[in-house]
């Protein structure tokens, strides 16, 4: 049975681009969202293999460390 896994921002920063879409099958560490922070382009990767079910941010959003930015079924 699949369960929902939150994908949380690994650090505080600005959403630079959205890399995955709802329905995408992703592998662990595949980029879901890329943030701009610490003067770098930092991907937030999928924590596990699964399917993206929700994307909760848009480009230029400021996100906090730990904030749920997407969800996936695993």
């Amino acid at each position: 049975m699949s369960k929902t896994k939150d994908i949380r921002s690994s650090l505080t920063g600005t959403v630079w681009k959205i890399d995955a879409s709802v329905g995408d099958s992703v592998s662990e560490d595949d980029p879901v969202v890329t943030l701009e922070s610490m003067k770098m382009e930092i991907p937030v990767g999928a924590p596990l293999d699964g399917v993206i079910t929700e994307i909760l941010v848009t480009e230029n959003d400021l996100v906090e460390e730990g904030q749920v930015i997407a969800r996936m079924s695993v």
């Binding site: 650090l11 610490m38 003067k39 770098m40």
Partner: protein
């Protein structure tokens, strides 16, 4: 009994039958090994010298149903080297901790300490045995050894979390130098039954202490596997890197070429400092092929820590991982660094730092947890660490974290790649703060000032004042580290450090 031989055989067979066929069958059906099967896998075939086979519970009414009193203890060989083990037998009163089996554990620890043997804990226990521990006399009889939970890390300890681990199995896992967990097992202070009774919190066991929590949140466990067999294989592998005791250096093997050609390092690491990459690819181009033993992969993943072999010699790799948080060291990464330095310093394992970091991760989340003190603890551990420390800056090292990652004479050998930069902060941030110009408002002026600032960050500047010993090309990295290890041998003490971190607290 009239026939001593018969009595011996009958008692022995009863003890070896553990909690009886019904309980053992249930375990087998669920794909889980029993306590004795685990020991048979852990030790080289053919020999296990058990102690305490005839131990039973203290209370007369429990004696007939407590073979080996629920904890199987003994000694054998792992890859030809002697080691001890405590294997919890869940089929005997839930392997609960009792007056007698506490003596068995104490004995194993004492023998391991006196004779320089690694010690393995195969954890699965329900906690303290209530009938032994209840009441003032119960408590008075337990906790009799004021050094019970003190370690000076004289011999390596490894622990496997192979089922519910409450009480002693949880404590010994946290005290161990290495811990592996089978997914589906649980590690917590007390079971969810106790939690719901005590504070009215109803959580399932997985949420209370399942593998995902320990992998991502607590960092109490180093590796996670799917089966008992994999967990035991992982413990054997961990011990292959370690000396049997702190009076000797780690064992050497013959060297192997790295899995990836070191000449590809130039392409693996992008020149653009805003871009990320996986430091695991860099490690594969430096250490002996197949030798990297990753510890706490999902916990504080901006810092990689793991054991490896470099030309056959055990080394500890501590590396920023730009793929996670840009490689910025955060609060948890400091904790991860400290526990890894403790492991390396306790057992004479040289530390190699691969540096590519944008500075400590600043922000309110870290400050709330006391980040400044954690940074100082990390530096204290690094500066007290007496094993050889070799550092290589691949691309950048900014701010106070420059010191935490081996800069400022905190390495025996500090080298920088020919495209690396070292500075107080990222040039872009410096321009914005010092000149009030940012990329958005005045891109031309920003670029001009940034180029000026960057010129001061050259690797030849830091090498020019001998704050770095060498400037190297990426392709030279492995050879440079092998040569540096050959210089920094601590030969006067046969490769032994002073183990100043061996008394460091567990966390």
């Amino acid at each position: 009994m009239d026939n001593p031989q018969h009595e011996f055989e009958e008692r022995r067979d009863r003890a070896l039958a553990m909690g009886g066929p019904a309980r053992l069958d249930r375990r087998r059906a669920s794909g889980v090994l029993n306590a004795r099967e685990r020991l048979a896998l852990l030790f080289d075939a053919g020999r296990f010298d058990e102690v305490g086979l005839f131990a039973t519970a203290e209370r007369p009414e429990d004696r007939h149903r407590t073979p080996a009193d629920g904890k199987v203890v003994g000694f054998g060989e792992i890859e030809g080297r002697r080691a001890g083990a405590v294997s919890n037998d869940m089929t005997v009163l839930g392997a609960s901790s009792s007056t007698v089996n506490a003596r068995k554990i104490a004995y194993a620890k004492d023998v391991a300490l006196k004779n320089g043997l690694p010690l393995v804990f195969l954890g699965e226990s329900s906690g303290g045995r209530i009938q032994d521990n209840m009441g003032a006399r119960g408590m008075g009889a337990s906790s009799w050894d004021p050094q019970q939970y003190v370690r000076t890390r004289e011999t390596p300890w490894a622990s496997a979390v192979l089922g519910p681990c409450f009480g002693s199995s949880a404590w010994y896992t946290c005290m161990a130098d290495y811990a592996v967990m089978r997914k589906g097992a649980v590690l917590a202070v007390a079971s969810s039954k106790v939690t719901s009774q005590a504070i009215g919190q109803f959580v399932d066991a997985e949420e209370l202490g399942g593998w995902e929590m320990h992998a991502e949140v607590t960092g109490l466990v180093d590796q996670f596997v799917d089966t008992d067999e994999e967990a035991i294989a992982a413990i054997r592998e961990f011990l292959s890197y370690m000396p049997s005791h702190a009076g000797e250096a780690p064992p050497r093997r013959s060297g192997k070429a790295p899995a990836t050609d070191p000449r590809t390092l130039e392409d693996i690491v992008p020149l653009d400092r805003a871009k990320v990459y996986s430091m695991y690819k860099v490690i594969d181009a430096i250490v002996d092929a197949g030798s990297f033993f990753d510890l706490k992969r999902r916990f504080a993943p901006s810092l990689i820590t793991g054991l490896a072999r470099l030309d056959g010699q055990t080394v500890g790799i501590m590396a920023n991982n730009p793929a996670k948080k840009g490689g910025a060291v955060d609060y948890d990464a400091c904790d991860k660094a400290i526990s890894f330095l403790v492991l390396c310093d306790s057992f004479h394992i040289p530390v190699i730092q691969l540096v590519d970091q944008p500075g400590f991760l600043v922000g309110v989340q870290g400050e709330r947890r006391g980040m400044p003190a954690k940074i100082m603890s990390n530096i204290q551990a690094l500066q007290m660490c007496t094993v050889p420390k070799l550092s290589v800056v691949l691309r950048k090292s900014y701010g106070a974290a420059y010191v935490n990652m081996g800069g400022g004479r905190n390495s025996d050998d500090f080298s920088v790649w020919n495209r690396a930069e070292v500075s107080f902060m990222d040039p872009g941030i410096a321009v914005a703060i010092a000149h009030g110009v940012d990329r958005g408002t005045d891109p031309e002026k920003f670029a001009e000032l940034r180029t000026k600032v960057e010129a001061d960050n050259s690797p030849y500047e830091i090498a020019g004042m001998f704050a770095a010993q060498s400037v190297i090309t990426p392709a030279m990295t492995r050879d440079h580290l092998v040569s540096a290890l050959a210089v920094h041998t601590r030969a006067r003490t046969n490769g032994l450090g002073r183990r100043r971190l061996a008394d460091w607290p567990y966390r």
